[in-house]
């Protein structure tokens, strides 16, 4: 029993470990050799899958854009335009400024995150097993040393990168719309304010603390929500994959349910990005 438990947990562990790459004194090193490399480690599976999927997104939409006509659109163009219009409507409803960036940003986030989440629906063992096979036959590696995590959104690095990107834009928009002084005022004079100057000055540290927490909580919530949902979903897929034949109906049910989750999470990330940027661009706090 104990041995089996170890096998199961190591199986799960194997599934949840990224393929790593780092440079050491002896040159490029991979996976377990990178255990001590600290920050300068690259998750090459996350990078490859996310960039690959991003390129697929851009290729699909770019090809629709170059072929787009103002006349009667084809089915492919209709489909792409449906997505574009859906995102555009949400942006127009929520973001009341004029910005050339928000809508394409929202579109990129929605479709890219959706595609990355979609990788979750590929049965968990297919691609890692295939990668293990390739590693074994082509590179002579032990297949247990080949790691392959195909859902980039289950990597906190990716979700954090997206959230940080949005966070930088929030700060950028705040400063652009309200000016540095306005931004500092927003951080220091709310939510507690007083007509008495002295009291106001005394309140500044509290306000700053509260507002900073409120501000920083936004990228954290963005990054952790997406990561948490997808990581949990992936974990359940892995667990289901470990229960023998019973996995077939279970996997089906969880996959159907997960179709909702992956679209919803992509949508939520997009919507919150728009809402946060809208808040950053509006004066009334």
């Amino acid at each position: 029993m104990a041995a089996e438990e170890v096998t199961l947990s190591s199986h799960i562990q194997h599934h949840l470990t990224n393929a790593k790459m780092c440079s050491t004194d002896a040159g490029l090193a991979f996976n377990k050799a990178c255990a001590d490399s600290g920050f300068w480690t690259w998750h090459i599976d996350t990078l490859a899958w996310s960039i690959g999927l991003g390129l697929i997104f851009l290729w699909i939409f770019r090809s629709a854009a170059t072929k787009s006509t103002t006349g009667v659109p084809g089915k492919f163009q209709c489909f792409i335009e449906m997505i574009v219009e859906f995102v555009g409507d949400n942006v127009r409803d929520t973001y009341h400024g004029s910005s050339k960036l928000i809508a394409p940003l929202a579109l990129t986030i929605f479709v890219w995150v959706f595609l990355m989440n979609l990788m979750d629906l590929i049965p968990v063992d297919f691609l890692p097993a295939f990668a293990g096979l390739v590693g074994e036959t082509a590179f002579g590696m032990d297949s247990h040393d080949v790691y392959m995590k195909i859902v980039p959104t289950t990597d906190i690095n990716l979700t954090a990168a997206l959230a940080i990107g949005v966070f930088l834009l929030m700060i950028g928009y705040s400063i652009k719309i309200k000016g540095i002084i306005g931004f500092i005022k927003e951080l220091t004079l709310h939510p507690f304010s007083s007509n008495n100057k002295l009291v106001q000055v005394l309140l500044i540290p509290f306000n700053l603390l509260l507002e900073t927490i409120a501000l920083v909580a936004k990228p954290f919530s963005l990054a952790l929500r997406l990561f948490g949902n997808l990581y949990a979903g992936e974990l359940i897929f892995i667990l289901i994959g470990a229960v023998g034949l019973m996995q077939l109906p279970l996997h089906f049910i969880w996959a159907v349910f997960h179709i909702l989750v992956i679209v919803l999470q992509a949508f939520v990330f997009m919507m919150l990005t728009i809402v946060y940027l809208s808040m950053a661009s509006s004066d009334n706090h």
């Binding site: 006509t69 574009v84 990129t108 690095n157």
Partner: protein, 156 residues
């Protein structure tokens, strides 16, 4: 939670994707949608206008049709009247002609009759004279007794 350099890589990838989308993907797609919306809007407006125009023209046509019908009825009326007039006139003229021809025939018959009567008288007179001559032989002088014969002839 093992944050590492992947974060930086993804941040760069994210930035590049968004910029590419902003430059080359969103504007043409959104532009196409908006242009088509404008086109459809214009088309609907034009069709509304055309419909109104059609209604107007239809009314105008109906008006003209009514007018034409009235005119046609007038013309037919006039023609009927004129036809009746012509028939009347012709009937009268025919009547007159007939009467004239009949009168002429009558007078011709009359004159022929009087001429024939005259001829007959003359021939009877001659016959009477010849007969008398034959009866009386030489005793009677044609010249001396012609007035008696004339009187006889006139009594016929």
């Amino acid at each position: 939670m093992n944050l590492n350099a992947t974060l930086i890589g993804e941040l760069i990838a994210f930035t590049v994707f968004v910029l590419f989308c902003m430059k080359f993907v969103w504007p043409p797609l959104n532009g196409a949608i908006e242009a088509r919306q404008k086109k459809i809007e214009d088309g609907l407006a034009a069709s509304d206008k055309a419909e109104k125009e059609l209604e107007r023209v239809r009314l105008e046509a109906a008006e003209q049709l009514t007018e034409a019908k009235t005119q046609a009825a007038d013309i037919i009326d006039q023609a009927k009247k004129r036809a009746a007039l012509i028939v009347d006139e012709e009937t009268t003229r025919g009547q007159q002609e007939r009467e004239k021809i009949i009168a002429q025939g009558h007078s011709e018959v009359e004159s022929e009759r009087s001429r024939v009567t005259e001829d007959l008288r003359k021939q009877v007179a001659t016959l009477a004279v010849v007969g008398a001559e034959k009866i009386l032989e030489r005793e009677i002088n044609q010249a001396a007794h012609s007035d008696i014969v004339e009187k006889l002839v006139a009594e016929l």
